[in-house]
């Protein structure tokens, strides 16, 4: 090697962090620091272009636009109202019923779309309206809507899992989907418990009991909507088709349901939905492409090994290391968005976690759970911003109401981190892990 590795590492990471602090978009910061380092190390620049193109040249990535599109169609097509109705029929009768409805509807919606933003913007207005009308504190209902939307990134389908599988190269998307299943539902149940306790203490109302026949009717009406979840889950779990293909079929099915069965979606609105997808793709694909080049330099300079050895130097206790990693991710999650963090951190952190006996699926779910908390923490949290905007609440007030909910999410995160059973049981059962 004709160059100094340490200088190259400092050049790569230093210029990257400097540029993003100076508000250059993350994707261009990654490009710029990669180009600089390549110039310094004398790497052929063509490699960068090839890395950028080849990191997008993957069939499983195609699932991202498809799942986004399916989510858009569902959101526009009246499916979200249906989900709230079903949830109300099922859990509305308990103390703090509408809060439970909020969580359950998000759980069901999470089974169709993988984005918390889509969750909040399509379910949020109705949920918050209902809760506020029933006498809940508007800040609390906003906070609960934001937190519950984080189930969406854990419960399959989740495009962040696809990004993760891309970033570390070849973790099975199906396995990740199955691994996220139980943690997502667990988060929902934890939130319901928290909501129950808070509702009892603040004396929030008990919802109306929906008669049995009515419940059956609502359930019947929403079967087509819920079938989407079944298509995706069963298709992937039992190997009928890959995640990408299930996403394409889910798109068609969602389109059929919302135009023919529920008749809420008009054909002339479709270009608008497509454009929304293209807008999200603009962010995600650019990141994946430039992260492909960036990660190439990161691994060429052996940064993961270096990071692992310095982290092991701090402590050799497995639990302490995991705690440190989680803390680091939580801090990063506060100031940065989910997708870029997954792309940057997972190639560096995965080797560390593998060496202390985690499997790659558990690490992925832990990472995504952790960054999901980051989605609702200030100063930068996508879900938090959108939630406050949709609910027209002030950020500080909402954050105050979120404090107990953060606690609940942290409990969930610790469970996912230290109990491998939660993430690994289902993938093992279905043969994704041995």
């Amino acid at each position: 090697m004709s160059y100094d590795v340490n200088t190259a590492i400092i050049l790569l990471l230093g210029s990257f962090f400097l540029l993003i602090i100076l508000k250059l978009p993350v994707i261009f910061a990654m490009c710029a620091s990669t180009i600089l380092t390549m110039l310094y190390t004398g790497t052929n620049m063509m490699t960068m272009m090839q890395r950028m193109a080849s990191s997008i040249n993957s069939f499983s990535l195609l699932a991202i636009p498809f799942f986004l599109l399916a989510g858009e169609i569902m959101g526009a097509g009246g499916v979200s109202d249906q989900l709230v109705a079903v949830s109300n029929a099922l859990v509305g009768r308990f103390r703090g019923g509408l809060g439970h409805v909020n969580v359950l509807a998000s759980m069901l919606f999470g089974g169709m779309s993988g984005s918390s933003a889509a969750d909040i913007s399509s379910l949020g207005p109705l949920e918050m309206q209902l809760m506020n009308g029933a006498g809940y504190d508007p800040d609390y209902s906003c906070a609960l809507t934001i937190t519950s939307s984080c189930q969406g990134v854990l419960i399959p389908p989740s495009h962040n899992m696809i990004i993760y599988s891309m970033a570390v190269g070849g973790v099975s998307v199906g396995g990740l989907f199955m691994g996220g299943m139980i943690p997502g539902i667990m988060l929902g149940l934890l939130l319901m418990v928290a909501n129950g306790i808070i509702s009892v203490r603040r004396n929030y109302p008990i919802g109306d009991k929906v008669p049995f026949l009515e419940t059956l009717k609502i359930m019947g009406q929403s079967i087509p909507a819920l079938l989407t979840v079944l298509i995706i889950l069963c298709g992937v779990a039992f190997g009928f088709f890959t995640a990408t293909e299930s996403a394409a079929v889910a798109c068609l099915w969602a389109f059929f349901v919302s135009t023919v069965l529920y008749r809420k979606l008009k054909l002339r609105d479709v270009p608008y939905l497509l454009f929304n997808v293209l807008k999200s793709l603009a962010v995600v694909f650019g990141l994946i492409a430039s992260a492909g080049a960036f990660a190439y330099m990161v691994s060429k300079l052996n940064i993961p090994t270096l990071f692992a050895s310095s982290l092991m130097g701090l402590s050799d206790n497995k639990y302490v290391i995991l705690l440190l990693i989680n803390l680091m991710l939580l801090v990063l999650g506060c100031i940065m968005d989910m997708a870029p963090l997954i792309l940057i951190c997972s190639p560096i952190l995965l080797p560390v976690c593998l060496s202390i006996g985690m499997n790659s699926i558990q690490f992925g779910i832990m990472l995504i759970f952790n960054l999901a908390i980051g989605l609702c923490t200030p100063p930068v949290g996508n879900a938090l911003f959108i939630g406050c905007a949709v609910g027209k609440r002030r950020l500080e007030d909402v954050v105050k109401q979120m404090l107990p909910l953060y606690g609940v999410m942290l409990v969930g995160l610790m469970l996912v981190t230290y109990v491998p059973f939660i993430t690994s049981w289902l993938p093992t059962l279905l043969g994704y892990l041995n």
Binding site: L24, P25, P65, I120, L274, A282
Partner: protein
């Protein structure tokens, strides 16, 4: 598209120039909306046909090709609407004057990267002419990379327009496809939420 009626410096060149480019850009966005529908149809019909025993052999490769095409155009859309992830938290702590100067520097860096993408995009197309696609052997490998220089060009163009402060000459791609009558899905542009790239201060 809002037309600024007051004449400004550089109008004589910029107006006709941007008109042509905006027209191309809008056409591209339209084409890609159609292509994305085609993608869904190709992949899902492949699944369905496979149950009957005859899958589409080229579905995988063609859909990947369309995706690469979309990705690089989408990158420039991100520059146009300013939706690329950026961290404004620390930047807002700097003095206003520095912020102003550095925004120009950021645009210059973005343009430089755009030029890089154009140059190496053209090179990679040249190299790819020799290779063949893996499944559809009739086509050269450079088919995969066709839109890379195009995306690079629009990145440079939009970064330049932002730098000159001529947002009034930029197309709003949304208006092309959906002239102001969205009955569905009110996107979260409600009071309190500023443009996504400016909200990172949080309060």
């Amino acid at each position: 598209m809002p037309q600024n009626t007051l004449p400004r410096r550089g109008d004589a060149f910029l107006r006709p120039f941007s008109k042509v480019i905006n027209a191309i850009y809008k056409a591209l966005v339209l084409v890609f909306l159609v292509l994305s529908v085609a993608l869904v149809l190709i992949v899902s019909s492949d699944v369905i046909l496979r149950w009957f025993g005859f899958g589409i052999v080229w579905a995988d490769e063609m859909s990947r090709m369309l995706m690469i095409w979309m990705a690089f155009i989408a990158m420039s859309i991100g520059v146009e609407i300013g939706s690329h992830v950026e961290i404004t938290l620390f930047f807002n702590l700097f003095p206003k004057k520095f912020q102003k100067v550095w925004s120009v520097v950021n645009s210059l860096i973005t343009m430089a990267i755009g030029c890089f993408i154009i140059y190496y995009g053209v090179l990679i197309i040249g190299i790819g002419m020799k290779g063949k696609l893996e499944i559809v052997r009739a086509l050269p490998k450079s088919m995969l990379y066709l839109t890379i220089p195009v995306g690079g060009f629009f990145i440079v163009y939009f970064a330049l327009m932002h730098m000159l402060g001529r947002e009034d000459l930029m197309p709003s791609a949304l208006d092309t496809i959906y002239p102001k009558r969205h009955s569905v899905y009110v996107p979260p542009e409600l009071p309190g939420l500023r443009k996504p790239n400016k909200e990172d201060t949080g309060v």
